[in-house]
């Protein structure tokens, strides 16, 4: 393996690494969205079960307020395309659960792509390793050969 081939492999590795980074950040966004939807499901279920419609509202900085939900069965929900509709608590929970399933399916595809990229990176790494070893061995052999010639 010559120097140029090693350089190309290094470029490939870098390129795959950049792609993997993009997919990893996409996966993180999806996972955040999924966790957010699950938290909303939990909150909606909690509100529907709460006595007196009173819940604890976190306002940041570790501070919370006891608040009373005026209409616990009327949920304003962004269903997609920036369109917000009013749904009952039960329907909103159902919608969010469906969305979680959809996001899980999408995440699975991204994970598969990431796995594929990582296995390609491993393959390139192996070849690079072999290339480096060959280069080191060739470097050791060269001075010995030139010494023989001198003699």
């Amino acid at each position: 393996m010559d120097q140029r081939e090693l350089l190309t492999l290094e470029h490939y590795l870098k390129q795959y690494g950049q792609q993997a980074e993009i997919f990893a950040s996409q996966l993180e966004l999806m996972e955040n969205g999924r966790m957010e939807a699950l938290a909303a499901v939990e909150a909606l279920q909690g509100i529907s079960e709460a006595d007196d419609n009173t819940v604890l509202l976190q306002i940041g900085g570790g501070a919370s307020l006891r608040v009373r939900v005026l209409e616990p069965d009327k949920v304003l929900l962004n269903i997609g395309a920036e369109v917000i509709v009013e749904r009952t608590n039960k329907d909103a929970v159902e919608f969010l659960k469906d969305r979680v399933i959809e996001m899980e399916a999408s995440e699975k595809k991204v994970v598969e792509t990431l796995d594929r990229l990582r296995s390609q990176m491993n393959e390139i790494n192996k070849r690079l390793e072999q290339g480096y070893q060959q280069a080191v061995q060739a470097g050791r052999a060269a001075p010995a050969g030139s010494g023989d010639q001198d003699e």
Binding site: S25, G80, A81, E82, V83, S106, R116
Partner: protein, 348 residues
């Protein structure tokens, strides 16, 4: 690709068929029902006449095919309302959803419809026409290149991280396989590693690349690319640029400068299908600020909703050119509205 939308459309198709079938069944149950639906002639009066004069084929036609009904808006209102919600849930933009519903209403409501054959095929045909109307005609890049003076200069724009550079390489590979000579201009001089990335792509697919150093003026790189292409009689120049958000005024004015210097024949906006409605909004913004002649959506294989692919052409009035469907150079398909509709409506 677009599995979620396909499932939702199948459900909508069943629901609409059910509504029309229910409407079709009504005249049989209530022969005296007025106006809204035109009942078929009572069988005892028709059959003896046919026995005397008609052939077997015309009997079949009268009994099975010629029965008609007029579909009223009320009869399909609930089904259309459900379809509207289904489309919005798939991130299909509101104006596009409205256009689809309006087209379906126009096709179905108030018209005499034969119910002898298959209500399902009637519904599928209506959905197909409505979707084809919003999807537009697509953009045949190879025909465009054949019909225009060479070199055809194509400038790629879009936000960061959507796969613009990879798309440039994929389209380069696609055009090379179509028999065109291609040159890539490495106009993304801003992102670290972008020049090496496009250089590696170009080497792998065997395409000449013009590049300067990182930090160089992208207008200069692309100007040099045009000069090289003209002197070497190259068919197509694919000009990569740095990703930018339309809100960054200085980067958008840089893009404007590139446009002035390079004078592209086509400006192609690249975004990812998974961004859904955001992709549609961003495409509209880019079109307003620097213009766009066509759109490429990447990562369509990971998009279950399909909202961006359905909405983008109708919303910004510019055609979809390609869909990116994976990591390989071959994983790019010229956008064909018919093929997408076929995939969405399945066995129809």
């Amino acid at each position: 690709m677009f599995g979620g939308l396909r499932d939702r459309l199948q459900a909508a198709r069943t629901r609409l068929s059910g509504s029309i079938q229910a409407a079709a069944a009504r005249p049989q149950e209530q022969p005296d029902a007025p106006a809204a639906s035109r009942p078929a002639a009572p069988e005892p009066q028709v059959v003896p006449q046919l026995r005397r004069t008609a052939t077997f084929a015309s009997k079949v036609k009268t009994f099975v095919i010629d029965r008609e009904l007029i579909i009223s808006e009320n009869e399909i209102a609930d089904a259309l309302s459900e379809l509207e919600i289904m489309l919005l849930e798939s991130d299909v933009a509101l104006p596009v959803t409205d256009a689809i519903i309006a087209r379906i209403k126009k096709d179905l409501v108030g018209k005499h419809r034969r119910i002898g054959q298959s209500v399902d095929s009637l519904v599928v045909q209506t959905l197909r026409s409505a979707l084809l109307e919003v999807l537009g005609k697509g953009f045949d890049l190879t025909s465009y290149i054949r019909d225009h003076g060479h070199p055809v200069k194509i400038l790629f724009t879009g936000v960061n991280g959507t796969g613009k550079t990879t798309t440039v390489a994929k389209i380069g590979d696609f055009l090379k396989k179509q028999g065109f000579s291609v040159l890539i201009g490495a106009g993304d001089t801003y992102r670290a590693g972008a020049i090496e990335q496009i250089e590696v792509h170009a080497a792998r697919i065997g395409i000449k690349i013009i590049q300067h150093q990182q930090g160089a003026d992208p207008s200069a790189v692309l100007f040099d690319s045009v000069q090289y292409a003209v002197s070497h009689k190259i068919d197509v120049i694919l000009a990569d640029t740095a990703g930018r958000f339309h809100t960054k005024a200085n980067l958008m004015s840089q893009l404007e400068k590139i446009r002035r210097v390079m004078k592209p024949d086509l400006v192609v906006y690249v975004d990812e299908a998974v961004a859904g409605n955001d992709a549609v909004v961003r495409a509209a913004e880019f079109d307003r600020t620097v213009g766009a002649d066509a759109v490429v959506l990447t990562k369509a294989d990971m998009d279950s909703r399909g909202g961006a692919a359905i909405s983008i052409a109708h919303t910004i009035g510019k055609p979809l050119m390609f869909l990116g469907t994976g990591q390989g150079y071959d994983d790019i398909v010229p956008f064909s509205p018919e093929a997408v509709v076929e995939e969405l409506l399945g066995d129809a």
